[in-house]
């Protein structure tokens, strides 16, 4: 499979983690905000906040369990607590603290996981969060956001600060193309239709949105009109957008940089099964850990490409 049409140009736009960090610093004058980071603040880019507001920033060290508990306590005293680390160390290492100290008491803690997915590349599977969306979605009351580009990550960051309640914001390591030139219609919980089409709907989030747009362009050359939906909020998912896609197209492809189980695909399928059963295909990492390699190589090897989306769309339309 050629790399030629893979849309992700790793030099093109800001990484979502950068957009998060810069936005957090921009809105940091809000004194309710307190940030805790697990000694990766130059990777999560909470550094920018730290430089401007050192009194409201704590590097808690490589101790994610304590970090999450501290964030919960800050929230318990009225703060908007941001806890940031690599997504896998945050969600997997500290999961019980998130469950017990954040989700169960419904504390206003914003968990921000960077370096999600296999597109981190060479560091390999130990650093790759590929279960994190499933873990976050499993928590009652959690809002789960997987933005696609810099501008929408900035918008999501601003909005999650204004909304009360526990939230998981998933960010990636690599630079990604800019998709949104205007985010005035970007809102948590509301899917964005980036391209219209009535043959097939491609529902994607994270880095797969750009690939979905590329796939839709290629499909158009074959006479297939693909609708592309950025389902940045996995929970609470935009049921109406899914229902419309099921009603108005012949089938749905879901694309995500995550394991097959428990993520966007499973969430969309649940809505489809209940509201309007239709043919579906899934583009994801499957049921396996990845390896080290260049991000572009890994995306091809593990089937996260526009070509994979095109194949899935054709399978949907064939039946």
């Amino acid at each position: 499979m050629s790399l030629g049409i893979t849309r992700i140009d790793f030099e093109e736009g800001p990484a979502t983690r950068e957009a998060f960090g810069e936005t957090l610093a921009e809105i940091g004058s809000d004194e309710r905000i307190v940030v805790v980071d697990g000694d990766v603040n130059n990777s999560t880019f909470t550094n920018h906040f730290k430089e401007r507001y050192p009194d409201r920033f704590f590097n808690v060290g490589i101790a994610e369990s304590n970090m999450v508990g501290v964030a919960a306590g800050l929230a318990g005293s009225g703060k908007i607590a941001i806890a940031a680390s690599f997504s896998t160390f945050l969600m997997s290492n500290a999961f019980d603290q998130i469950r017990m100290s954040v989700a169960f008491p419904n504390q206003n803690v914003k968990l921000v996981g960077s370096h999600a997915g296999i597109s981190i590349g060479e560091d390999g599977p130990s650093q790759m969060a590929i279960e994190d969306v499933a873990l976050a979605c499993a928590l009652p009351g959690f809002t789960v956001i997987v933005p696609a580009d810099g501008p929408s990550t900035a918008a999501a960051t601003r909005e999650m600060i204004e909304r009360d309640g526990p939230t998981f914001l998933r960010c990636g390591r690599p630079k990604v193309p800019v998709i949104y030139d205007d985010v005035s219609n970007f809102h948590i919980g509301k899917a964005n239709k980036l391209r219209d089409g009535d043959d097939v709907a491609i529902i994607a989030n994270g880095i797969m949105v750009a690939m979905a747009l590329d796939a839709a362009k290629a499909l158009e050359d074959d006479g297939v009109e693909a609708r592309v939906i950025d389902m940045h909020t996995v929970k609470p998912v935009d049921v109406a957008a899914i229902e419309r896609a099921a009603n108005e197209t012949r089938g749905i492809v879901v694309a995500e940089e995550h394991l097959a189980y428990g993520g966007l695909g499973a969430t969309v399928a649940m809505v489809v099964a209940e509201r309007k059963p239709t043919r579906m295909c899934f583009v994801d990492i499957g049921d396996t850990y990845a390896t080290s390699g260049k991000p572009e190589e890994l995306l091809v090897q593990f089937g996260l490409t526009p070509e994979a989306i095109i194949d899935a769309a054709r399978r949907v339309l064939k039946d």
């Binding site: 369990s65 304590n66 919960a72 100290s101």
Partner: protein, 281 residues
Amino acid sequence: MVEAKSSEPGELEAITRRLRRDIVRSTTAAGSGHPSSSLSMVEILTVLYFGGILRFDPQNPRDPDRDRFILSKGHGAPGLYAALAEAGFFPTEDLMTLRKLGSPLEGHPNMNRLAGVEASTGSLGQGLSVGIGHALAARIDERDFRVYVMVGDGETEEGQVWEAIMFAGNHGLANLTLIFDRNGYQQTDAVDNIEPLDPLAEKLRAFKWLAREIDGHSLEEVSGALTWASKDVHAAPQAIIARTVKGKGVSLLEAKPGGWHGKPIPPEEEAKALEEIGAPS
């Protein structure tokens, strides 16, 4: 307005008897729960809530200036509930709804259902971290409230406790007090037979904490230690290691401190237990 309740020594002793009575009666009525783990904390809870230490207002339980008490060993819930009822957060008769469907007095504390509960606990090892968050918030907001956290000695096997101890010591969180209910037993055996903790005070001092060891059933020693901790003179967090007896006050439980974890006193033994406690029914 938040204020501390102070009682005469004789009255404090009477309160300990009432709390023990309530622990026994509520868990026996529930048919489950952790009376022995609750009975070991009674003098500490009594001094905290009624001995002039915690500043609180049952009419305004989320007053931002209140002192926080976090029961990290959440299975001690019957003890915490007895103290909260005695303090006026809810009627004492509600204690008899412990663990029943619809009751906010759940098996382990749920902060969103019961006023006065500062943290939902029960998965061990987590309360100190939450307490640190509150203590940092006090520092940021320049409020003078203090944070008290109670852990069990078995609970201290959890790694998160030590992450939190390291953080609090390094950050000199002087508005934070950690109380160890050192009753010596965990679910299946003595702590000393599983993961011996000693020398605990030395370990804490090495982590830049102030540490004191006391008899956790002497109202005088508990009061002295908590008064010491609550004074605004420290540059470091304070630890109080309270040597206690699991099941204190009930001979049936005291005779076998390793055998009653998570077990209520059988109904046929309740009258004798209450007689030993010497509490009015």
